[in-house]
């Protein structure tokens, strides 16, 4: 079975990020694969192998996303594709999903799309659901375990995490799933994998090639803003003993009316 996964490059999670009008700066911080995607990439590799198929990774965005695609190839994903065109607005969810659905449609025999839980940069998971609806596939979110894929009957059984507990669901393929941290132990790219990936040339699919019109209205990014400066005066509670410090702290918290 062909398994597809999506990824993107994000600034390293330790980076200081600052708003700069319609974009953000992260200084000289390195680009890394979106941290949530390490789990979806691992799962795509494992599930493709288990079903005797191959895994494809797709990124929608400019050249900076080649970084995440090369990391994916180095981990062991079989092929990588980047989708990009002038005028693509990746902050527009409907447009993103339209391009993604067309790209999935271009990959033969795809029955499963695996996403990481969300993208740390945009901080959103809406694209996962939007792609599922564009494709008309079953959506299974917050998956903590894939319990079974039954290709003969075209079903998938998963455990998913909800605020109130854990649920086991059986659904029909094809499906889009999003996976949680902890579903697996993502592998580190091997030395040979890294060398191979560094030489790979990654094809770019444009809107025409995908037969997609970019004229979808909807949302417009107005810009980024820095967080309002937090004016915090830290008060260190001093005291002779832990008990005294505890008592003084409780006094303060009662004054703050947060208890």
């Amino acid at each position: 079975m062909r398994v597809i996964t999506f990824t993107r490059s994000t600034p390293d999670t330790a980076a200081k990020v600052e708003a700069n009008g319609s974009t953000v700066n992260w200084g000289d911080a390195a680009l890394v694969v979106n941290p949530w995607d390490e789990y979806s990439l691992e799962e795509a590799i494992v599930q493709a192998k288990n079903t005797g198929g191959q895994a494809t990774v797709i990124a929608i965005g400019n050249e900076m996303h080649n970084e995440a695609l090369k990391h994916s190839l180095a981990m062991g994903v079989d092929e990588a594709v980047r989708v990009w065109d002038d005028g693509v607005d990746v902050t527009n969810g409907l447009q993103w999903a339209t391009l993604a659905a067309a790209a999935v449609g271009k990959v033969d025999d795809a029955k499963l799309v695996i996403f990481g839980k969300e993208s740390v940069d945009v901080g959103s998971d809406q694209h996962t659901y939007q792609l599922a609806r564009k494709l008309g596939w079953t959506m299974l979110s917050y998956v903590s375990k894939i319990l079974e894929i039954d290709e003969a009957n075209g079903t998938i059984k998963v455990e998913k995490v909800l605020e109130q507990g854990k649920q086991v669901l059986v659904a029909q393929l094809p499906a889009v799933i999003s996976v949680m941290k902890g579903i697996n132990e993502p592998r580190y790219p091997s030395f040979i994998g890294i060398r191979k990936a560094s030489k790979a040339s990654i094809p770019v699919w444009g809107a025409d090639e995908l037969g997609v019109s970019l004229a979808v209205g909807g949302t417009t990014l107005e810009g980024y803003e820095n967080l309002p400066a937090r004016d915090i005066t830290t008060e260190i509670i001093e005291g002779e003993s832990a008990e005294e410090k505890a008592r003084l702290l409780v006094d303060k918290l009662l004054e703050e009316k947060v208890l």
Binding site: V24, L162, A242
Partner: protein
């Protein structure tokens, strides 16, 4: 007449409390548009819950308690919401960005080709557009988006908006509709659901007590057969020291990524960039140094208290109050003091 829809999330025949925050946002948008608020309630006890939505400010409700909607499943819920949106053309559809709210609103927005503003912490109407501000880059910056269209979907972050006051006087008109999908047209079946009762949800918690790497400094002796003494000590510390403080405060237990990755506690408790983003009234960080990734997940907290041996730990820069000391001495003393004072 058009309206602003607000989706009331339900679980086990009751409204999920954060839904009332969404009613407040819907009310504000509806005021700007000059239209009423219609609550959408699906699942068991839908009518009673719709009535309750009226107490929080909804002007009317559309309900469906069909058996296919008893437990949340995306397909039948989205099919019905999308149909109602296509039929009624509301100005906006509002819901809270819980796990279910995120997927329902995104799906229905796609079905109806409507723009979607997700995880808003501020929402306003300007001219014929809706503008929303949301955290981006794991809360390190904010992004402002605007949307134009016949119907604009908006999900709001939990605890970012106050719930309106409850006023039991008001009775609202409730319309009952049929489900859109029959059971045999739904491709997802629920096999089992293990509900974890008694645990407080991090996203909804007004108070969170978190432990970090410092949990391993438990002075208790690990049993000889413990596989890894440090892990045992830290796990025990979460159970014996952090949990009792959380219980005394009616709060939830959180953890840093370092604590989760070291196996001290389950991932469900992780706060930070690759965990949950939380914004409680009170966040007590115990033995957490405060890496930038952790700060990204908790900097929205109203009051932060840091308890750490290392007075130079970065977490103190975010803290309103700090205690420099051993969490294994300070936290039990704090729990005892709170029990005494709060009764």
């Amino acid at each position: 007449m058009s309206a602003v829809f607000v989706w009331i999330e339900t679980f086990d025949g009751q409204a999920v409390a954060s839904s009332w925050e969404a009613v407040g946002v819907a009310k504000a948008l509806a005021g700007d548009f000059g239209v009423p608020v219609t609550a959408i309630v699906m699942g068991g006890q839908a009518e009673a819950i719709a009535k309750e939505a009226g107490y929080y400010g909804a002007d009317g409700a559309i309900v469906c308690d069909d058996a296919t909607l008893a437990d949340f499943r995306l397909e039948p819920y989205a099919a019905l919401l999308s149909k109602l949106v296509s039929d009624e053309k509301p100005k906006a559809v509002v819901g809270v960005a819980t796990n279910r709210g995120r997927e329902l609103l995104a799906s229905s927005a796609t079905d109806t080709d409507s723009p979607f503003l997700s995880e808003a912490i501020e929402v306003s109407v300007s001219g014929d557009a809706v503008r929303a501000v949301r955290p981006a880059y794991a809360g390190k910056v904010l992004s402002a988006m605007s949307a134009k269209g016949d119907t604009i979907f908006v999900s709001v972050r939990g605890r970012a908006f106050p719930a309106p006051e409850r006023n039991e006087g008001k009775d609202i008109a409730i319309t009952t509709v049929d489900a859109v999908l029959a059971e045999d047209a739904i491709t997802t079946k629920i096999d089992s659901f293990a509900v974890e009762s008694g645990s407080v949800n991090l996203n909804d918690a007004a108070i969170i007590v978190s432990g970090g790497r410092g949990m391993a400094n438990n002075p208790a002796d690990a049993p000889a057969d413990a596989e890894d003494a440090a892990v045992w000590k830290a796990q025990q510390g979460f159970a014996d020291v952090i949990q009792p403080l959380a219980d005394a405060l009616g709060g939830a237990v959180g953890a840093s990524r370092a604590a989760v990755d070291a196996g001290y506690i389950d991932y469900e408790h992780q706060v930070g960039q690759t965990g949950k983003n939380v914004n409680p009234d009170l966040y007590i960080a115990c033995g957490i140094s405060g890496a930038i990734q952790h700060q990204a997940g908790m900097r929205g907290s109203k009051i932060v208290v840091a308890i750490n041996k290392d007075g130079d730990a970065p977490i103190f820069k975010l803290a309103r109050y700090g205690i420099v000391g051993d969490l294994y001495e300070v936290v039990p003393a704090l729990t005892a003091e709170l029990k005494k004072r709060l009764g």
